[in-house]
Amino acid sequence: MPSEKPQIKLYTLSTCSHCMRTKRFFKEHGIDTDTVDVDLLTGEERERIMNEVRKLNPDCSFPTICIDDDVIVGFNEDKLRKALGIT
């Protein structure tokens, strides 16, 4: 397990089942995240956040998960566990 708490940002859709699974995974493991539901944003705010997503994941698909410098696209429990050091 990394010694310092990782910075985690979740780019999600409020309607997306894969995103819901992702949110639940972090919640169940008691891990804090900075989560943004992009479909609930409008105008300049949405544009700004989508520019962030595009830089991390050119496919602009959801969820896009940023754990420090690692980017994980989609809900993949094995990848999340590995990135977070959860056995």
Binding site: C16, S17, H18, C19, R21, D39, C60, S61
Partner: protein, 110 residues
């Protein structure tokens, strides 16, 4: 329309198409809720796993069932969202893998 009612309708529809809804019912019920939310929000049930433009003409290809469903099921056994699947997929006879986005980049909402 309730999520349960939509589930019943789409389940029968899937069977009529020779495919199935994903056997993971809680996962599918989240999708039902997402479809209903998008229906109320946009006036059409766009794919809950994709960012919509909110303009029907621009989202026509991702109104569920999306135009990418059949090629995705043919290639991966599942649609992008994991709602519609092939019978072998539901019977675990083919690998359950993450389905890549088939929607052309220029059509994706920003």
């Amino acid at each position: 329309m309730t999520p349960e009612k939509l589930y019943e309708i789409l389940s029968a529809y899937a069977v009529s198409q020779g495919i199935r809804l994903n056997k993971d019912k809680p996962f599918v019920m989240d999708i039902m809720q997402g479809l209903l939310t998008n229906g109320a929000r946009y006036g059409y049930r766009s794919c809950p796993c994709r960012l919509a433009w909110g303009v029907k003409d621009k989202d026509a290809d991702i109104i569920c069932p999306c135009v990418y469903r059949d090629p995705d099921i043919k290639e991966y056994g599942s649609c992008f969202c994991g709602l519609y699947v092939s019978i072998p997929w539901n019977e675990d006879k083919i690998e359950h893998r993450q389905v890549p986005e088939r929607r052309p980049k220029e059509k994706r909402a920003t």
